[in-house]
Amino acid sequence: MNNLIEELKNDIIEQLNLQDMTPADIDENAPLFGEGLGLDSIDALELIVLLQKKYKTKVNNADEGKEVFKSVRSIAEFIQAKQTANS
């Protein structure tokens, strides 16, 4: 789980062009949107592409996305749950 969280932090920084940020700057329990990293709706859509491309995990709609993208931890949990279900 912790490895996945670290990997996700790196992925998010790269995919969303979060300049001058390191994985250590991201709190895996903090909200990603709004207050947190200041991400917007287009970032959420790019995260959906990231999950599909790299983790073969599909987020079906914006509402599901809202739950999944609460924090880095919730994304990791979502990926793990999907991977367990598929294995």
């Binding site: 917007d40 709706s41 287009i42 859509l45 959906i48 592409v49």
Partner: protein, 402 residues
Amino acid sequence: MEGEVFVSGIGMVSAIGMNIPETLQSLYQSKSGIGAISILDTHLADTLPVGEIKYTDPQLKNHLHNASSKRTYSRTTLLAIQAMQEATQMAELGSIERSRAALISATSIGGMDKGEIFYADFLKNPEKANYRYARVHDCGSITEELAEQAGIQSYIATSSTACSSAANAIIHAIRLIQHGIYDMVIAGGADALCNFTLNGFHSLMILSDEPCRPFDKNRKGLNLGEGAAFLVLESKRSLTKSGRKPLCQITGYANTCEAYHQTASAPDGSGAYSAMVQALQRSKLTPADISYINTHGTATPTNDLSEGRAIEKLFGKNAPPFSSTKALTGHTLAAAGGLEAVLSILSINHSLIYPNLNFSDPMDELTIKPEVALGSSQTIKHVLSNSFGFGGNNSSLVFSRC
């Protein structure tokens, strides 16, 4: 200096009809053109309903007068020629009149429907790709083809401001006439379905997997569509000279820049509000004068909320009848403002208020509700038509009975 502007011819092709008579028939039957994809080659065919015109490119070409059999046309161009020919024939424009007219044509994808086929083939093997497809790729190629078809020899321009493109083409035309630069302008827009836009809008997750439900609480997004629509606009002087009877007058227009977000509209509806207010001011009408509003009404969560709020702010709780016709035609992007201009004019000429299909539950945030049944009893004096584009480019037009 600012003279009156009249419309003397209209033409339209969309999923609800290849011409004005077919379109009217669909309107009277409230028949939607939204359905499964069967012409466009895409992996999304079974996933996303669209407003597709059920003719292949060769069939569309056969439909046209004087289309050259040897020439390569983009699908967008074929649709544009069809609609423009209908408009110029309705106005009975002779070749001399056409040669003196200006032409403003709108598109967002241009000939991308052919460009993307060329590009895929080119990447596989540059020698096997059809370079005639590449030649018709750019947005301006449609306007140039239309000018050649109509024999227009003077001023031509292409307008591309996303979903407000055709409305802006019409505004451009109005200004050319009002400033006395041209007495007659043909203006409108066209967009065909293609994979670039279908996948792009799909990646934004704003396409509905069921027929769209504008202004409904449970709306899930938009259905893309394809089509073209053109208007012949004339000055008073030109009408007097030809003795033509106008279909309507265009009394108001406005285009505003919202400066809020690349794609989303300001949630309070300020951009939509200022476009409607300025269009009304220019027409010297009050909100109470408007008989019907043909909304932008894409059925995305954000558009319908901000547009609905703007309508409430401007018209109060007693807004005039309003509806979105996108549940009939789909969202035809750059052509939408043209299609809806034609529908607004038909509304005035045939006393029609169009139903907002698929509406059942009102939005929590609004007290106003769209019309759900076809209205055909009251006199329609003034119609307000909205077209809002990505980038916060908002346009409103006012069409008036004459």
